[in-house]
Structures are given as structure tokens and as C-alpha cells.
Chain length 404, copies 2
């Protein structure tokens, strides 16, 4: 792979025009959009307008001028990216809080099924939240097994199979249709965490027959730090599942101020407290860029970027732990190296921002919307130089940050 080839790919890239719609810090090649997506330039005006006009000038009146419906409106914008209908998705709270809601709800359907099954090494908060959720349902338990043992662990007692579609470390992707069917054949529900797949690959929840899902707004959707998350419940379940975090915004008639809780119909019941309006505004602005996008172009560009950076990593002698077949992965790439932390720090010092994951993983997000092929080619060159010249051995690169 040469610079000329990367330039040629950029010249015919149908997504090339998106890159200029994001703030691109001088001297930075940002390979961490899978951790915190970049700032869409339109979001600067959107949030300023929200603060100064909707909040500053219209004040409380804004609740009747767009705020109250924002969770549904934003959910409907996520829907086409995950193969769902608009009225199957709502934006709310954090991924962790939403997972708790769905796990508890799933466990309450049938007391004879009381096991939540998941994978060892899943993103930690999924397992932590599941620990908390099973404690809220008598007899329920969490069973965590290695990936290879998942199929065998599905059984008569499984209430829910909870998997992260694309693995946060390795980028390995579960086949959604296959695993959804496996769970349902065992009589269980299937819950997908889409945090590392929404906006990275084409997700088809309804085609796969999935039951429930959650996902993150601040990665590929570019919704901003700590953006609201979303949740999906297939239409056939919407009347039968109940939010354990029953709050006023999920009430059928919140402004009648009744003492007793009555769940709203549809997805609204998954709301709990007053939604984060600033967060929803930024997320809505980020999602606007996805309007009408062809997800097959996202996948194709992701694969092209991946090939460029994979070649650079292999040439530098790194061990790639991400599958080489694009249908088996998301849109990031991870390598293993005993000095992964120091190499990531040395790259950051050179303006290439990726991240380190314990204990020995270098992880790089290859976000099709914000990166050019040349960006990724340049980042690969820098990675090669840092390893070839031993730049990462400087003592300052061994100092650990609070968030690594």
C-alpha cells in the first residue's frame, strides 16, 4: 500500500465529503472514534442555539416546542441504522442503565427461566449491570462462559442471552441472525449491545428477529461525550415488558401527576427521569449526518481502511487479534504487543490517537465517516516508525493516566 494508492481511494470515495463536516484538530489523526466520536461542525451551532435560544430565551416553553418528544425523535433517527422501525427505538439514560431495565424486564417474563447468559470478557459494564439486575429478581442468576461454550450453555433455564455484537477489544462480530436464532430455539430472549456496531456496520435487528438491544450514542454516532444511549424493544414485546425503573417520563400521562404508576404504551415506558436535553440535542445533530446514508458504503470503506492499517501493523511486527474477514468484525482493529501502552502513548505524542486496553492491546478505530484513506495510511507510517525506531521506549510514555 502506497500513498498514491490511498490518494486514489480517496478520490473515488463516495463518503469523502463527510470528513470535512467534522472538526479535525490540527496535527491529529484520530483513530478513536469508536471510543468518543468526533465533533460534527453542525453540532457547535446546534448546541449553541439550544443553550442560548431554546433554554435561554424560550425557557420552560421549550418543553412544548420539541424537547418532550426528543427521546422518541432521536430514537427514530437511530432506527434505520440498526434495522428497526422508528417506534421500536428510544433514546434514554446510559447504555448501562438501559441494560439494567431490559435484563430485569426479561427475567420477569417467565419465573421458570432465571438465567442470564453472557460471555466472559464482554464489555465489563454489561456484566456488572447484569450482576445487579439478577439481584433484583428472586432466583435469577448470571452465567458467564467463554465464547466457545455459549451454545452449549443455552438451555431450559435461560431467560436471556446477552451479547455485545462487536467486541470492544478484538472487534470480533457475532453473526446476529445465527445467535438470535440459537437463543430463541432454546426458548430464551436475545439482547444485543450494539455499542461498537451501530454506525460501524449495517445492523439488522428485525431481519435477525432480535428481541431487545441497547447501544451507545457517543461512539460512531458522534453524539458527544456521555451522550444519551438508546434501547430497542421489538414490537411484539412492547406490551409485555415493563421498565423496572418506572419513572414519571415513562408514565402514560406524566402531567396528570397521579400517585400510581401506569406504563405508557410503546417505547415511551422505557424513559425514567427527565431526559438530558443538552445531550439529546448533540446526539440529534450527530445523527442528522446519517440521514439517508448507505450502510454498505460504510462497510466497504471500513474494510478498505482496515486493510491499510492492518498491513502497516503487520509490517511493524504486531500481532493482529481482529478477524481478517470483514463480516466477522466491526470497524476497529486491535493488535497485541507487550508494550502496547507505551506504543499508544508514543503514537499520541505524534498526533495519532488510538487507545490502549488492558493488558497488552493497541486498539484503533477506523471510522469511515471521519477518516480518509490517506489519514489511515499516514497513521500506519507513524506506527511503523515508532516501532522501528524504538520511540516508545522513552520513559515518559510509561506514565499511566487515570483513564488509559
Amino acid at each position: 500500500m502506497t500513498l498514491a494508492t490511498a490518494e486514489a481511494l480517496d478520490a473515488v470515495d463516495p463518503l469523502a465529503h463527510y470528513r470535512g463536516q467534522f472538526a479535525q484538530p490540527e496535527g491529529v489523526i484520530y483513530l478513536d472514534g469508536n471510543s468518543l466520536g468526533q465533533l460534527p461542525l453542525a453540532t457547535v451551532a446546534a448546541t449553541h442555539e439550544l443553550v442560548t435560544q431554546a433554554w435561554g430565551e424560550r425557557l420552560i416553553r421549550s418543553w412544548n416546542e420539541g424537547w418532550i418528544d426528543a427521546p422518541q425523535r432521536v430514537g427514530a433517527m437511530v432506527a434505520p441504522l440498526i434495522g428497526a422501525d422508528a417506534n421500536e427505538v428510544i433514546a434514554a439514560d446510559s447504555t448501562s442503565v438501559n441494560l439494567y431495565k431490559l435484563i430485569v424486564a426479561a427475567l420477569r417474563i417467565d419465573p421458570s427461566r432465571n438465567v442470564v447468559l453472557s460471555e466472559a470478557g464482554n464489555f465489563p459494564t454489561d456484566l456488572h449491570v447484569a450482576e445487579g439486575a439478577v439481584a433484583a429478581v428472586p432466583g435469577a442468576q448470571l452465567r458467564v462462559v467463554e465464547r466457545g461454550d455459549l451454545a452449549g450453555a443455552l438451555g431450559d433455564d435461560t431467560a436471556l442471552l446477552m451479547l455485545t455484537h462487536v467486541h470492544y477489544k478484538t472487534a470480533e462480530r457475532f453473526d446476529m441472525a445465527t445467535w438470535t436464532k440459537a437463543a430463541q430455539d432454546a426458548g430464551a430472549l436475545m439482547c444485543w449491545d450494539l455499542s461498537h456496531s451501530v454506525g460501524a456496520v449495517a445492523v439488522e435487528l428485525n431481519a435477525a428477529g432480535a428481541d431487545m438491544a441497547v447501544g451507545c450514542g457517543y461512539k460512531y454516532l458522534n453524539g458527544g461525550p456521555g451522550a444519551p444511549a438508546f434501547l430497542y424493544v421489538a414490537k411484539r414485546w412492547q406490551d409485555r415488558l415493563h421498565n423496572p425503573l418506572s419513572g414519571w417520563m415513562g408514565h402514560a400521562a406524566p402531567f396528570e401527576f397521579a400517585d400510581g404508576y401506569e406504563a405508557a404504551p410503546g417505547m415511551k415506558r422505557w424513559l425514567t427521569g427527565t431526559p438530558s436535553v443538552l445531550g439529546l440535542c448533540a446526539l440529534e445533530s450527530g445523527l442528522a449526518l446519517w440521514d439517508g446514508i448507505d450502510l454498505s458504503q460504510i462497510e466497504a470503506k471500513s474494510a478498505a481502511l482496515w486493510n491499510i492499517f492492518h498491513a502497516a501493523g503487520i509490517a511493524a511486527g504486531l500481532e493482529c487479534i481482529t478477524p481478517t474477514d470483514p463480516v466477522e468484525r466491526g470497524s476497529h482493529i486491535s493488535f497485541r504487543h507487550p508494550h502496547a501502552y507505551e506504543i499508544v502513548q508514543a503514537m499520541i505524542a505524534r498526533g495519532v490517537i488510538g487507545d490502549f486496553r488492558d493488558p497488552d492491546i493497541l486498539r484503533f478505530g477506523l471510522t469511515p465517516m471521519t477518516l480518509s484513506h490517506v489519514d489511515v495510511w499516514r497513521a500506519g507510517q507513524i506506527l511503523g516508525e515508532i516501532i522501528e525506531h524504538g520511540e516508545w521506549q522513552k520513559p515518559q510514555f510509561a506514565i499511566r493516566n487515570a483513564v488509559t
Copy 2:
């Protein structure tokens, strides 16, 4: 009360300089700061800086440059306003979600105490959330009684007395020390919802010996629409109470990415998912205005504003349902009228923004930081004119909004 008197009060008001630090929409007198606080002018720059610099330029690096500690930092800024120590308060999620955490945690201390006791007519989400929380603990139940029956309902089975310090409709205030002692004398814990009291009156949680509390960031604290909420746990309970919403941000070592959950020490365990950084930024900016403020001046000005508007309402023939003794109330005033909705709409049409609460209540927030005595005097004049001239009878004022 005359205009001249109001002007004289403004001339000697030690808090007068705060009013100019908020966006004051042209032609508006805003008596709804108890529902959504006004925009501090400094927040425009703070949120713009966060979006363009911390997010746009620094990107993921900002987690190590202030974001990761924002929940504790913001909590510490709330602490002096509620009579707590800095390490007893943290900002997180919504009031509703935080209440769920604390109620479940309290119910799990002693299985022989399984009743959550609260007041009929409490803010609805408190009761809705409590319904959900008791369902998460075997044998637990919610008992809701009239205010006059609360003392008699405390007993050997009470795990938690959960009260809203200042009532959202009437502004009636519980005596915090008396009710905390009553709960504890019965062997129960005391949880206060401070949503309508923080920033409205001097709250003294530790002096009262309270066990736990939650509160809202978007009312008197001016943190913006849907701002993060806060929670307080008295130091003596911090090791013994566990967050049922066990997520990665409450883990002792979130970036070690371990499968098993281990609660962080101190208040950090009450975090769940990734915090709303935009929301925290706006809340922090709003809280900065409270630095070093004398809460007795807030209370004194609240009383003065109240007297002005109370006189106007009484003169207009309205029935006041808020206690006349300042120590028995918060910083809003409510009147009853069979056409409360229409009168509130007619006032909004004249630029005086208050709100309506089902079925017949006109509610007006008298926020000492953002209002002058003359503002409130003018609003009182307009209220009088609308009732005297029957302005509220115009048909357009009967049309209901989604959020009333």
C-alpha cells in the same frame, strides 16, 4: 406594596448583582425557575468551550483532563448548599434513577424492615420509582399515606421514610431535623428529595442527621434542561450501602476491565454508566454562581419576594395554598383557582411565566438569584389585571399543551 417600595428593596438587595448574570429574555418575567432555572450567561461560553475545545480539539484526551472527575467535582459544589461534606455528594443520572438506587440499597440492609413509607401526593416520580424499587426486593412494599398519618405509620417494619423536603405543588416544607429523628427513632432510614429545596432554602442534611438524599440540577441550581441530578449518602453509610445499578463507572477500577463487579469506595459507587459530560459542564457552570453565597440571604430575599407576590394574589382574590411562615415553605407560591390553567396561559401571553399544576393550581417560582423585587411586583400587577379584566376568558387560553 408599591413600586417605590419594591425599588427600595432592590436598592439594598445584597443579591441584586446576580440577576444580570443570567439571560433575561426581553419582555419576560420568569416565575418558573423552580421548574427550569434560567441560563447563566457564563454557561454559554462554558458549553461552547466544552463542545469546541474539550470535545472538538482534545477529544478522548479530555477524559484525563477533567471529565472523569466531573461527577465528584460537581457533587462537591452541591455539598455546601445542602449541609453535606464534599465527599458525601456526587452528580449522576436523573433524580428518578438515583432514587431507585437509594431505595433498593436501603431495603437491602435489614430484611425484617421491608416497607418504604411515603406521602400521598408526593412528586409522582418519587412514588413511581418507589413502586419499581420495592419490586426489586423480595417482600418489600410501598406504603403511601396522607401527610397527617405519616408519624403513625412509622413502625418496626419501616425500612425507609422517603419525603420530598419542599412540596412541588404547595411549597410546604417538612422540618428536616424533626422528621429525620422520627424516622430514625422508629429504626428507619431517612431519604430526602431536595429537588424543590436545594438553592431555594438552606438545607442542613448533616445537622439533621439525614441518611440519604437526592436532588435536581435543573431547577434552582440553573444547570440546564435535564441536567444531571445528585445524590447524597451520609459518610457512616457509605461502606454499607450498595448501588443496585452496578455499572462500570462505579467500579473500584473501571479501566482494568474486570468481569466481576467491585464497588468503588466512597460516593463513586453510585455512578453507573458514562456520565453526561455536556450536562455536567452546564451544571458546573450554574453551580459556580453559588460559590460562597450566604444562604440566609437567599432565604431572606425569597421571603421578601414571596410577600410581594402573595399580596398581589390575595388582592386578586386567589386562595393561597402555601404556608405563610417562611420556615414552613420553599421558594415558590401556589394559588388555587377553578380557572388556574387559563389564568396561567393569559399571564404567559403577557410575558409572566409561571406554571399550572393539575387540577386547579397556579404555581410561581420566586427565585432569589434571578429576580428583582420590581420583577415580582410587576408580575403581581399583571396577575391582578388579568383577573380584574377577565383576560383569561379568551378562548385561546383554554387550549392545552402537551406539557402543562
